[in-house]
Symmetry: C2
Subunit: 233 residues, 2 copies
């Protein structure tokens, strides 16, 4: 282990405190710094020098831990996407109550995360997608995972509605199969678009964005025009 | 003018027919070829050789008309975005009838265009955005224009609903100002997401995609769960 630390922790060598930080903490600092740097400058223009400086470590240590700028960017995309999926899942999964209350909880968690971690949101929604392969593919896989999760929730809600006496519509079922997937795509697309707009528009809170999307996605424009907004029971 | 044509129309020199094509037609052929090539390979990997070959002209003629690969790509983004906005506007603007019927007409026009011009949709939704500046900025401006158009329609529908006896909601108005902009962002985001999914999913028709989005955006998930789908009056 001495060899690893001896590889250089830059200006903090001899500071004592910094040297004793466990690897997992150091790595987190580097990834935090990388998120800021990639969000600000994009993948190409971000420099390993800046990332090392922001993390308070030497550049060789960044390479030792994360191997290359490419692997660092991939690690950032994965970590941020999993974190985002994590907070949304935590807000929704295992939570009882009616589907609209669960959707509200999930949307609020999503918009709060995007608002509180604007750099992470910029990396996921812009930087990862605009950098070509392999990053765009990585970002697409993460988005597929999130969409599949949302489709699961919509499917569950649809089954509950049927089981709970929901009237069968065209084709005998409320919502099913491919339509669930399509609705999940629509919901994810609207949430992405609204989160980027909210982060770019001064004064829009996460709660306001979540409420607007709830009105749109749950009540629909038709009811909104009649001033029938969604509201918690 | 002889100088221009003499600059080379490749293998078709002397063919007579090809040489007499007016500039505007030649240019359209080049842009058509460029859309296919940029959609297939992306901006970087697309070659001016392939574009010239697909257009049936010489490479120098492509440069003579469009100046550079960068200008050609910018011209493609502008043409395709204007065409898309054009078909949607044509389906909606000046059309009477209730707002839901107008939204349906607009969505059907949008999904039909994306389905019938998959290369154009790929260029606008993926290629233009993933290529960095100046193209991402160009694509963003085009998207802003489309979102402003959609916001205008939603605002109009909201005013009609108010004027037509719509019940005033929170704050005394059905929908207004910043919320209209937010709803437009949500609608545009869901349409983009669904169009890309529809084009990538075998067997999904433009009509099916438009119907799903109508159910989602107009009726809302809440009513869909109760099997209350949107349907034309």
């Amino acid at each position: 282990m001495g060899g690893v630390w001896g590889f250089g922790v830059g200006g903090v060598v001899g500071g004592g405190k910094a040297r004793r930080l466990p690897r997992v903490v150091r790595e987190r600092q580097m990834l935090d710094a990388a998120v800021r740097s990639f969000a600000r400058h994009g993948y190409q223009a971000a420099s390993m020098d800046e990332i090392a400086e922001l993390a308070g470590v030497s550049k060789p240590l960044v390479y030792l831990y994360l191997n290359s700028k490419e692997e660092l960017f991939t690690a950032v995309i994965r970590r941020e996407a999993q974190a985002l999926l994590g907070v949304v899942a935590e807000a929704v999964v295992g939570r009882g109550g009616p589907p609209d209350e669960r959707l509200w909880a999930g949307l609020l968690a999503f918009f709060s995360y995007a608002a509180e971690h604007p750099d992470a949101w910029t990396v996921l929604s812009v930087r990862a997608r605009t950098q070509g392969e392999p990053f765009a593919g990585e970002a697409a896989r993460m988005r597929d995972e999130i969409t599949a999760f949302v489709a699961g929730l919509i499917g569950e809600a649809a089954r509950e509605a049927r089981g709970g006496g929901g009237v069968a519509g065209r084709g005998g079922a409320a919502v099913g199969g491919r339509e669930v997937e399509a609705l999940a795509q629509a919901l994810v697309g609207s949430a992405e678009s609204l989160a980027s707009w909210a982060n770019a528009t001064p004064g829009v809170t996460a709660k306001e964005a979540a409420a607007t999307l709830m009105d749109f996605a749950w009540s629909g424009l038709g009811n909104l025009m009649k001033s029938e907004r969604w509201s918690p029971r």
